[in-house]
Structures are given as structure tokens and as C-alpha cells.
Symmetry: C2
Subunit: 145 residues, 2 copies
DNA sequence: TATATTTAAGACAAAGATGTCTTAATTAAC
DNA sequence: GTTAATTAAGACATCTTTGTCTTAAATATA
């Protein structure tokens, strides 16, 4: 798996929040009901996004979470990195420590090239792009059946 | 992490086996001693590679494992898929089931493109390429320190 | 054949990821 | 202020991955 389940859930929740037209808070209850996720588990994932300053949260009635800034200023790498750290974007394909141009593993050079393309995708893809109306037919955020 | 620790270990072990000049069996004791891996855990990983017909094994004195065919005919995808399944090469970035051109998630199109580049790298990279002499300076298979 | 060596296989332990539940803290609305 | 609603936080359970240990099976060699 490229991403952990936690990242899957966090990305889907972030997209749900981003596509909410009103700029108010969205309750986590609603998010998890609509996306069919565990409420408590997702709450903790969204707490991490809040701590990473990607979301704002508010307790009490009418509370919930919202994006901390315009969706065009939040990209997929920021979300993934807040949940599971930078390993995906920096790690050696063989899991070796200090793998670098100076001390490369056998796949270092070719992997670095492909990994950069992965990183580019995550960095240049923003929440805004993924929820814009022309993408309406691609807004599926839930499992089928 | 792109790959599991199990895949890391299996790839490193496979490269160690491939770079052995003699075509005889290499003992798993030697592999795990040289690569600083757990003997029993690695043994089971190599069993999976044997079951996937990537390796041959032999018990008893002078026994061990060897490549089941020339290293130019074993690529990285085969090894990874034998260890952790095809998810990396086929899965949805958001973890959704049945994500396809017909029922795409918001990142389906762009992820499919990048995922294909990852797949290409794993498929076109063979053990032979990674152990050929011109790569000698890139044969690091162990952690530093 | 007997022995030593090696992989095969399975039980089990430890660690980490995932998921559930309870209580505390905060806040809107009455 | 009281109440209800909501996130924050932590304890705990379950499942998966990773790692260890023991025993069985196979095989080369003497």
C-alpha cells in the first residue's frame, strides 16, 4: 500500500470538508456518517490535521472542523505528511538509512527519479483542484455496494 | 512507506543472492549475517519467494537458496508482489474499492499516471541490472554505522 | 547408516496500526 | 447559569506486522 489506512481516511475527510460550500464548521459526526468511517478514530486523525494547522476546530454546538485556509493552499503532501510523516517522500526503496547520492543503494538513482514524480503529484494537487465543479463526476469519496 | 519492511528485507536478500558469482546455493545464515537481518523471519520471506518460483531452495549441508532463473529474468515487481501482493501496482490512492475509469475517485486520473511510472520502474528493473559490475559503487545493501 | 547441517513449518511474543469506549473540556443557545 | 452538543484526550481492545523460538523434514558427507 502506498498510503496507510489512516492517510486514506484523512484525505477523504479533508476532501469532504473542502467540498462543503459553506465556510462554517462541519461536524465530524456528519463527516464520518457520510463517509462511513469510525467516528472516534477519524476524530483523532483530524486532530492531527488541526495540530498541523491544516484545519481549525471548534467545540460545542455548531462546532466541528473547517479548512484553516483556502483549499488551493492545501495540498495532498501536507495532509499525508501530517498523518504518517515524510517517509514516502524521502525514504530509500530498500529501507536503508542514509541512502543518498553519496551512499546510494542499488536502486537509489532510478527510485529518486520516480519518487520525485510521486512527490510532485502530491505537492501540486490541491484540495481546490479536486473539488472544483468540473471534477464533479469524480467526487466519489465512499466505497461502493 | 512505499514498501513494507518485509519487502525491504526480501529485496535486499534477493540482491545479495543475485550478486553471488557462483551459481550454487547460498545459505540463509550467511545472507542474514551479512545483511544483519533476523534469520527466522528472513527464512520465511525467502520461502515465499521460493513458493512464487523466484528462488530454488535445498535443505541439508551445502543447502540454501539460489535464483530460479537468470537474474535478468527476475524484476522488482515480482519480488514485491510475492511478498505483499499487487496493491501497490493496482490500488486506489484513497483506498476505495472498485476505483476505475468508470467509478473514479477524485485523484484517480492523475494517480493512475504516476502509479504507472512506479510500476514501470519495478517491472523494467531486473536483479541483473542492479548487480552488474558497472553498478559496483551502488551495491550497498546494509545500513551504515 | 549415522551425523551434522540446513530449510520448512508452526507456535508464540512484541510492537505497531486500527478501532472502540469513556470522561473531560469547550461552547452555543436557551 | 444550565443544558445540550461537540471536539479533546486517554484507556483499552483487536488485528496485522514483525520478530523469536522450537521441532520436523531433508540432504550431503563420512
Amino acid at each position: 500500500m502506498v498510503l496507510s489506512k489512516s492517510s486514506h481516511y484523512a484525505l477523504r475527510a479533508a476532501l469532504y470538508i473542502a467540498r462543503h460550500p459553506e465556510s462554517g464548521y462541519v461536524s465530524i459526526k456528519e463527516i464520518t456518517r457520510e463517509l462511513d468511517l469510525s467516528f472516534h478514530f477519524t476524530t483523532k486523525l483530524l486532530q492531527r490535521l488541526t495540530q498541523a494547522r491544516l484545519l481549525l476546530s471548534c467545540q460545542g454546538p455548531k462546532g466541528g472542523v473547517r479548512l484553516a485556509r483556502p483549499p488551493k493552499n492545501i495540498n495532498l503532501r501536507q495532509i499525508v505528511e501530517a498523518i504518517e510523516g515524510p517517509e514516502l517522500f524521502t525514504g530509500c526503496l530498500l529501507g536503508l538509512n542514509q541512502c543518498s547520492d553519496d551512499h546510494p543503494c542499488p536502486v537509489h538513482r532510478s527510485w529518486t527519479g520516480v519518487r520525485q514524480r510521486v512527490t510532485n503529484l502530491f505537492e501540486k494537487t490541491t484540495l481546490a483542484q479536486l473539488v472544483e465543479p468540473s471534477h464533479k463526476n469524480k467526487l466519489r469519496l465512499t466505497n461502493l455496494e
